[in-house]
């Protein structure tokens, strides 16, 4: 582990932390364009965060320390997740702390924390949001893990850094199983980030909310942190997808020029992925809540199919 790796790690943390709202803003902007609206510009999330920063902190009577520590824990968990995923080069020093399975675990931890925090207030909305979130969680988690198993089987390792190194160093190799994994991954990404076929991020009706209901009682800087955590989660999911399915262009050694190139490429890939996400959201309609198990069940089956194909074709 060299100082270069450390610098790289810091750079990545900063990039994930500071850049995540930009990605969220870009997705919103694209959705506005696709919906024939002007949109507020990709910088809007930063303005919202600044506004929330300054606002008074309002907390419900019944709230305990669980409610008040949750936003900090959530942001911390998301930053950890974001710094484990190889973003610019597969040599981050934090990578050994958690492999792909542990990464899924970190997301599960964050989900549990947010569900418990929502239940802490003791209103119907909060606990309803919590149970829906957990429902989606236990369905999406197996699918996500099956998605991650396919590259893990290809590279004989669950370490994301090893996987990415393996995928980038071999000659352009088309893994058929990865096609399955990729399509399942998109479905999981939509579900886990409260995106349209599963949850509507724009809704104002408490009874239809999933993710929103978890945030319902938060205000001021707590809410800012929750929003930020959501943005980092989206960015991390995008980063995982890019690392697994479009890893080309990452710097293998972490040289300065390589990193510069990788950063540029990452920006391009993220922009494209954000646009694609907005397009998917514009084209699809929200599913009824009890269609969601079907949606995620399909994602899971597709991912398992990827593993089967991997065994059959021996690649």
């Amino acid at each position: 582990m060299t100082s270069r790796a450390l610098i790289l790690q810091c750079l990545q943390c900063a990039l994930v932390f500071a850049g995540a709202p930009l990605l969220a803003g870009w997705v919103e902007q694209c959705r506005a364009w696709f919906g024939n609206r002007h949109g507020a510009g990709p910088l809007q999330p930063y303005r919202v965060l600044r506004k929330l920063w300054r606002k008074e902190l309002v907390v419900a009577h019944a709230a305990s320390w669980v409610f008040r520590t949750a936003p900090y824990l959530l942001v911390a968990a998301m930053i950890i997740a974001g710094s484990i995923v190889p973003l610019l080069a597969p040599i981050v020093p934090l990578a050994p702390a958690a492999d792909a399975i542990a990464l899924v675990g970190v997301f599960a931890f964050a989900r549990m924390v947010s569900a418990l925090a929502a239940m802490d207030i003791g209103t119907g909305f909060g606990s309803m949001g919590a149970r829906r979130e957990m429902l989606i969680g236990f369905l999406a988690e197996p699918a996500l893990l099956m998605v991650l198993f396919t590259p893990a089987l290809i590279s004989h390792s669950t370490s994301l850094a090893v996987i990415v190194r393996q995928l980038t160093t071999t000659r352009l190799f088309l893994y058929p199983s990865m096609a399955f994994a990729a399509s399942a991954y998109v479905m999981v990404l939509l579900a886990e980030n409260a995106r349209i076929p599963v949850d509507n991020p724009d809704t104002h009706l408490e009874l239809t909310m999933i993710h929103g209901a978890l945030h319902l009682e938060y205000a001021g800087r707590h809410l800012a942190l929750m929003e930020w955590a959501g943005a980092i989660k989206l960015a991390t999911y995008m980063a995982i997808g890019i690392a697994l399915f479009l890893p080309w262009g990452m710097s293998a050694t972490g040289s300065a020029s390589g990193i510069a190139l990788a950063t540029g490429l990452l920006a391009v890939k993220m922009t494209a992925a954000g646009t694609a996400l907005a397009a998917i959201e514009t084209l699809l309609a929200k599913l009824r809540l009890f269609r969601v198990p079907e949606f995620l069940g399909t994602a899971f089956m597709v991912a398992v199919l990827g593993i089967l194909v991997h065994f059959l074709l021996g690649t």
């Binding site: 702390a97 542990a102 599960a108 569900a115 209103t123 309803m128 988690e141 198993f149």
Partner: protein
């Protein structure tokens, strides 16, 4: 009595067992002095500590054995403390330490007679459990096993004025006896295979002999049934959700934390030690059975409304995962893949230890809640985090552990188990190669459901607003209880944060059961990392995860204090714009389980009572029942009843008839004799 006296771990363990017996006897003498009786439990706790220490010592010493001049004329008591037993001795000692301390505090307000009875039965049970682990021949093993069943039965029915308790106890006792009969048969076959007469009952002789595969399979099946009745996997699970809620909480903790694990110990002993050449289909059978059990337990625990029932179904789920781990171990072992078998065994043992610690913690915590509120129904609890801050904080650790999320201990064993599933790609049978990864998916599904269940358990009990007015008077746990909960929560954190050290505890057992070389090389690591060896490069560093988590959130708190020092104001929560706002508008336990009931509807046997739209006092009730109860248990009961009716036909109320039966039997025997 003991052949050699020294600092041999086996001697220490034996002395502790003797001490427990003495304590049990002392409870009779002290039956009118409640303080002294409670002090007995502290003495028992000290014994448990010594027992765990003996286990720890035995891990790093060669297996020691001894014989006691007791028992049958040609079969003295054989005792032995080897690496596998040592792992379970540590588990048992540590858990019993916490439970004994807890009980000493928990029984404060009980009647003296009841404390005396419980003290006697409890220490007898501890001694029996200790002896099961030390036994090295079938005779001692079965004596200890049966003593364990009886004494735990008595503990379960300690509230014997409740019909439910008596019923649950009876169900437990019958299940255990069916299991014990199967075990006797299994030992009989094993002994016959050794051709060594009475000496063949010693495990040492059984280890030396290899049975032909068909006989070995019969022994395996009998053993699986016998130990399964104790461990409680499908379809022998029915006693668990009945017995746990009615037993006093420390007893539930001991049942779930230790007794179930002895079933696991027995299966490991049979499949990998006494029958040392496992067949591949045993592994597949256990894998499938384990996964089905785990899924069943997870789904059902999400639908429960009674907190102890919920936890006991979650025990079934964990036992299922452990069994799946054993299945995987056996499967690898059958194909001579030593490294992977070691990995799977370590996952299994890790999961066993984890479950013992966190489930005892959770059960003891429910005991405190029960004491404080008198309520077991989740739908009548809520908001206890304000009244019981200690219990709430410690149980939060237990809930995270049970949910299997990093950096807590449940996750480590899940990680190891998934890694061993991932390794399962080079079996000679293509079917297995393709089907085994599906097992990993089931494991993750179970873990996700476990998180759901734990959010339900914790959120409804401790978070939100109190659903009943009486909850306002709830008080926190006392000193002894707090110490016990702290110990167990500390255990959860240790197991979660130092996987590399914990795995070292399992190495000797893996060397004994599988292969010394593989046991040495399979997992390595130091304080920070736990690293898989050989082909799969993967690591997991819970300490780093926790450190980063703490560091980042602390930094955020500090920065935000400085940058955004907005004041905090307490207000009423948002209620959708309506006026009324009561604590009863929160989600009930039924409500929280509703998505699970909807998604897994075909698996349940449900009765739902929906109120009519115009009803003024609407009541919604849902009852979830176990379909296996109707499909398996009740038919068996009915057929037993029918058979006893036929037998009753032989009964006439005249003594001459009975004499005639005896006479006829004698004649028949005399005719058959030559």
């Amino acid at each position: 009595m003991i052949t050699q006296v020294g600092h041999d771990p086996l001697d220490i363990a034996l002395a502790v067992c003797a001490m427990w017996l003495v304590l049990a006897a002392a409870s009779l003498a002290l039956s009118h002095r409640p303080r002294a009786l409670r002090a007995l439990f502290v003495g028992g706790a000290a014994g448990s500590f010594l027992f765990a220490a003996a286990g720890l010592l035995a891990l790093f010493a060669p297996a020691t054995h001894t014989t006691l001049p007791l028992g049958l004329p040609q079969l003295a008591f054989h005792l032995r403390l080897d690496a596998l037993a040592a792992v379970f001795a540590i588990l048992f000692g540590f858990t019993a330490l916490a439970i004994s301390l807890y009980t000493a505090g928990y029984l404060r307000h009980e009647q003296t007679a009841r404390i005396a009875r419980m003290a006697g039965q409890y220490h007898l049970l501890l001694a029996a459990i200790g002896l099961v682990l030390l036994a090295d021949d079938a005779y001692v093993f079965l004596i200890a096993w049966e003593t364990m069943a009886w004494s735990s039965y008595l503990l379960i029915i300690s509230d014997d004025h409740m019909v439910l308790a008596r019923r649950a106890g009876l169900l437990y006792l019958i299940t255990e006896h069916m299991g014990a009969i199967a075990l006797m048969l299994a030992f009989g076959i094993l002994q016959a295979g050794t051709h060594a007469g009475l000496a063949g009952y010693a495990f040492g002789v059984m280890r030396e002999t290899t049975l032909p595969p068909a006989l070995a399979s019969v022994v395996f099946a009998l053993g699986l049934f016998g130990f399964g009745a104790k461990a409680g996997f499908l379809p022998l699970h029915a006693w668990l959700p009945e017995a746990h809620p009615v037993a006093p909480s420390p007893v539930s903790a001991l049942l779930s934390g230790v007794l179930l694990k002895l079933g696991i110990y027995g299966i490991l002993l049979f499949t990998l030690e006494l029958l040392h050449a496992p067949l591949w289909w045993w592994g597949v059978l256990m894998l499938v059975l384990g996964l089905v059990t785990a899924l069943f337990g997870a789904i059902y625990s999400a639908a429960q409304n009674d907190m102890k029932r919920l936890l006991s179904y979650s025990s079934i789920e964990n036992i299922g995962l452990i069994l799946a781990g054993i299945g995987l171990t056996v499967l690898f072992q059958a194909y001579h893949m030593a490294a992977l078998a070691t990995l799977a065994l370590m996952a299994t043992l890790y999961q066993t230890l984890n479950h013992a610690v966190f489930k005892s913690l959770l059960f003891l915590g429910t005991g405190s809640v029960l004491h404080a509120t008198g309520e077991r129904n989740l739908g009548k609890l809520g908001g206890l985090i304000h009244r019981m801050p200690w219990v709430a904080a410690l149980l939060l650790i237990g809930s995270f552990a049970a949910a299997g999320v990093p950096p807590f201990n449940g996750f480590v064993s899940e990680w190891l188990l998934l890694q061993s599933f991932l390794g399962a790609t080079s079996f000679p049978q293509p079917y297995l190669n393709m089907a085994v990864p599906l097992g990993a998916a089931a494991v993750v599904l179970v873990a996700g459901l476990a998180a759901y269940v734990m959010v339900k358990f914790y959120g409804i009990t401790f978070l939100g607003q109190p659903r009943e007015a009486a909850l306002k008077n709830a008080h926190d746990a006392g000193f002894g209880e707090r110490i016990a909960l702290l110990l167990l929560a500390g255990g959860c954190l240790f197991l979660g944060l130092f996987p590399a050290w914990t795995v070292d505890l399992f190495r000797p057992a893996a060397a004994q059961l599988i292969d010394p070389g593989a046991a040495r090389d399979t997992l390595e690591g130091h304080v920070l990392f736990c690293r898989l060896h050989a082909a799969t490069h993967a690591d997991y560093g819970p300490l780093i995860v926790l450190g980063a988590l703490a560091l980042v959130s602390a930094a955020l708190v500090l920065i935000l204090r400085r940058l955004a020092p907005a004041p905090l104001r307490r207000v009423a929560p948002w209620n959708g714009g309506h006026d009324t706002r009561t604590a009863r508008m929160q989600d009930t336990a039924e409500g929280f389980g509703q998505p699970i009931r909807q998604v897994f509807a075909p698996f349940f046997r449900m009765q739902i009572q929906r109120p009519a739209p115009a009803e003024t006092a609407p009541v919604y009730a849902s009852r979830v029942e176990d379909p296996l109860w109707y499909a398996l248990y009740l038919p068996i009961t009915r057929s037993v009843c029918r058979m006893s009716e036929w037998v009753a036909l032989l009964r006439r109320r005249r003594i001459a008839i009975y004499l005639l039966y005896a006479f006829v039997t004698l004649i028949i025997l005399l005719v058959l004799a030559p």
